[in-house]
Symmetry: C2
Subunit: 189 residues, 2 copies
Amino acid sequence: MNLKAERGAATRDRVLTIATRLFAERGYDDTSIETVLQESGLSRGALYHHYAGKEALFEAVLEATEAAVGVKIVQAVRGLKDPAQSLRAGVLAWIRLAGDPVVQRIVLIDAPSVLGWERWRALEERHSFGMLKSALQATGAVPPEFLDLHAHMLLAAVNESALLVARGGDHATAEAAVEEFLRRLLAHS
Amino acid sequence: MNLKAERGAATRDRVLTIATRLFAERGYDDTSIETVLQESGLSRGALYHHYAGKEALFEAVLEATEAAVGVKIVQAVRGLKDPAQSLRAGVLAWIRLAGDPVVQRIVLIDAPSVLGWERWRALEERHSFGMLKSALQATGAVPPEFLDLHAHMLLAAVNESALLVARGGDHATAEAAVEEFLRRLLAHS
DNA sequence: GAAATTACCGACCGACGGTCGGTTTGTCTA
DNA sequence: TAGACAAACCGACCGTCGGTCGGTAATTTC
């Protein structure tokens, strides 16, 4: 089980790359399986052998995208000791990464409605949300009973400003605004 | 031009009501025009005479829903003098209203991906976002250069917690968490 | 070398959103 | 009030799309 498994994996990768580009460029609805087939040179049957359907293909694309983002955020935070500083660095890194149209369209726009809120939330838990929550906890600035909710609210707020930046908003102002936002949240009075 | 105009308006209203229910129950994608036709007793041609397409129908549904929500929020805030208190009351009212599955699915889940982010944002500006922004401005707690961004972030955060409550989260805790969140944001140090 | 597994193929299907030519039914005006 | 006009409504038809299915070829396993 070697040559065959490799060929299969290579095919899946190829489809994944192409699908990622198409989903990002046109969005989920306006990307037809037919187009994916044409651009990948694969047959219909072959694609459905590897992916259960269009939705499953999207989920694979989303998973891969989020994983890649996660790696980059970890890199941005590496070495920082102060929890508040880590949180700040991670959030800013995420905003910059969300400038990528691929991330925007796939992760921030289409994901919730395609997967449904429940599955989307479960997937987020394993990626950006999970990271942000533990970072927020480490700061100790939020009471435990509010930790989960505040983490959710903060992530939503950060995602929103990422979208605003991506859509022509001023980068510097947005980052300053987010920093101020964070500062206020972490200041327990 | 009376009997005719009335009949037309009545038909539009009927379709709108039915479509609202279906979109809320099944989501946009899983609601077929065919079903709307059957439940309304209307013919295909008639529906396309009144609405340009499925997307236009959804937009009409969304517009009506947001307008209704807006009215109720205004009622909740009426009479309050202190800007911070108005903001707080409006936000809490919005969270309670977002407990309605209709509002959830249509306004918070499907709207961005169906309309596209740009058109969705423009529509929000005329409704919840517009209200929240002016309320936030009235408190004077946010520097002008951050007002727009902070209003966006705050709305996103509140929407997120509304979704969490709606999906089985504890109502009381969520409201307390949102109040704390708001308190920190408004406290300028 | 036979059996089993996997990659891949492409004709076909049902559902769906949307179109279009046409009919009916009020309304306005000459 | 007759006739032009427009709005409301009808339903057969179309193209596209996601998904199915019976099958072939190639590789691995026993």
